[in-house]
């Protein structure tokens, strides 16, 4: 029993880590989270851009939709096909994630076209290459993140014994992952990638907002090269956050007692708080003080 729980925790942690990286890159490639306000603002201050902008829903509900859709299809196929558990779950999850990613492609292209068309008054043009080159990339990331989240839901339901049905777990995890990815990894995109022409560490003043970087290493910048940048730091930090959440949550339960797991989780929370204090001390020693007007 203990071995099964340990195996389940390790598998859940790994899948959560991968799902978070892929989800974050999907949102970065499609400007899907809060930084979309900058991409939306740019044409209004005469910065015509070639970013792919599919943000017409918040990242958490959007991601919950893809995960729940993939998990529902996977669960139906798994229970109807009558195959052995492991090949049945894997086949079902792949087909479910495939359908979710196809739907995401449809949603993304329509969202991008309508988003850009609404900027017609500011002479923003609809560049087909800025839609057609990042679209398959973004769909691929959605496929992998939906696949990992579906497999993770099966692991939590089957190996770790949650009483919730698989699609509901997938919706819960998809929502939590969307909230985490939009608040950790997307900062790297919104505050650094979009403003790379400003000095590192100078801060993004409110007056600079909308002045996004439209030219990149190879001429006009396209969203397809955003994950190339954010995968180096923003993605892994998102993976670390969500992976640690699932790993700590599942590992603390291997003892079998609820109270032991609660005490373990709160002691880990205290350790993380101490780490946060040291991190703040480190950054204060390293950056600043800043002077007004410089």
């Amino acid at each position: 029993m203990l071995q099964l729980l340990l195996l389940g925790s390790a598998l859940a942690g790994l899948l959560a880590f991968l799902a978070a990286i892929f989800e974050n890159e999907d949102s970065d490639a499609g400007s899907a989270s809060n930084p979309n306000s900058q991409v939306q603002l740019a044409p209004q201050i005469e910065h015509l851009h070639r970013y792919y902008n599919k943000a017409i829903a918040g990242e958490p509900p959007q991601n919950a939709l893809w995960a729940a859709l993939a998990a529902t299809i996977a669960y139906i196929l798994y229970s109807r096909l009558g195959m052995d558990p492991i090949p049945g779950v894997i086949l079902g999850s792949v087909l479910g994630a495939l359908i979710a990613s196809l739907l995401q492609g449809m949603y993304g292209s329509l969202a991008h076209i309508s988003r850009i068309a609404s900027m017609k008054n500011f002479k923003q043009m609809l560049y087909w290459d800025s839609l057609l080159s990042p679209l398959p990339l973004s769909m691929t990331y959605t496929f992998f993140s939906a696949l990992c989240l579906t497999l993770l839901s099966f692991v939590i339901h089957g190996l770790l014994g949650s009483p919730f049905p698989v699609p509901l777990i997938a919706m819960f995890l998809g929502f939590t992952l969307g909230a985490i990815a939009s608040s950790t990894g997307d900062v790297h995109y919104g505050a650094e990638r979009l403003y790379q022409h400003y000095t590192f560490g100078s801060g993004i003043a409110i007056s600079k907002q909308g002045d996004i970087d439209v030219k990149g290493e190879y001429g006009y910048r396209n969203s397809v090269d955003t994950p190339y940048f954010t995968l180096r730091f923003g993605g892994p930090v998102t993976g670390l956050t969500f992976g640690l959440l699932i790993l700590i949550d599942t590992l603390s339960r291997t003892s079998g007692s609820v109270w032991t797991s609660v005490i373990l989780e709160f002691s880990i929370i205290a350790l993380i708080l101490i780490f946060i204090i040291y991190l703040e001390k480190y950054t204060r020693d390293r950056y600043g003080p800043f002077e007004e007007g410089k």
Partner: protein, 242 residues
């Protein structure tokens, strides 16, 4: 426990959820490192934390109310504290700015004219980059987030337990059904404070904390309405079953 007590548990849980949103620091402009708080909307972030709390609480379904509440609080708090850690890591090494509270630096928080962190006593003002309203989550906001996570987790688990207690006699899939309904009630009570917070809060030291009574009242009204619907549905269903 009788169904009426379970109904009051749902109401109390809903109100706690509404209050927790005030404690969790969140700001959409934080995604550009231009404002203090976790870089997403307060409602969505609290809902994400609440869902991980409900999922944690579901593992303690057979261990009684106290174990479920503790488990839910632990799950939510863990999510909030890890998100604060991730956000601070990206701000420190991806953007190159230290965590600092903008409202405390400008002397407008509930601490009065003090520009120092309430817990560590570190001066905030010189560390705000020019033209921004703070960035990252300094220690006072992190502690506030932990308190918010505990309150939200308790609230979510309370609602979950109340709904589950009412649905066990009438449904074979009581756990899944009540998880779904608890998530729905959590979402409604998370979105209501959006009207008082207007997209941004720095946690318990923010001046918007003074608007908690408004949130309390609106969440009380909505939760009472929802609890009455759930109570009447389950009572009607059990009458049909017997």
């Amino acid at each position: 426990m009788d169904p009426v007590t379970a109904m009051f548990l749902i109401i109390a849980g809903g109100v706690l959820v509404g209050v927790c949103v005030h404690f969790i620091p969140a700001s959409a402009v934080g995604a550009m490192s231009a404002s203090t708080g976790i870089a997403t909307g307060p409602s969505m972030l609290s809902f994400g934390a609440g869902l991980s709390g409900i999922l944690s609480a579901s593992f303690a379904l057979d261990s009684g109310l106290a174990a479920m509440l503790a488990s839910g609080a632990a799950g939510s708090t863990l999510m909030v504290v890890l998100t604060i850690l991730g956000g601070n890591l990206v701000n420190a090494f991806g953007t190159g700015v230290p965590p600092v509270s903008g409202q405390t630096a400008s002397g407008q928080s509930v601490l009065g004219s003090s520009t120092k962190d309430a817990i560590t006593g570190w001066e905030q003002k010189p560390f705000v980059t020019p033209g921004t309203d703070g960035h990252g989550m300094p220690v006072q906001t992190a502690i506030s987030g932990v308190i918010g996570g505990i309150i939200g987790g308790l609230g979510g688990a309370m609602v979950f337990f109340g709904v589950q207690f009412m649905f066990v006699p009438v449904s074979q899939e009581a756990a899944g059904l009540s998880g779904m309904i608890a998530a729905g009630i959590f979402l409604i009570n998370c979105v209501l404070p959006a009207y008082t917070l207007v997209g941004k809060t720095e946690g318990m030291f923010d001046r918007k904390m003074l608007r908690v009574p408004k949130t309390f009242l609106s969440c009380l009204i909505v939760s009472t309405f929802l609890a009455l619907i759930i109570y009447s549905t389950s009572t009607y269903a059990s009458m049909g079953a017997t």
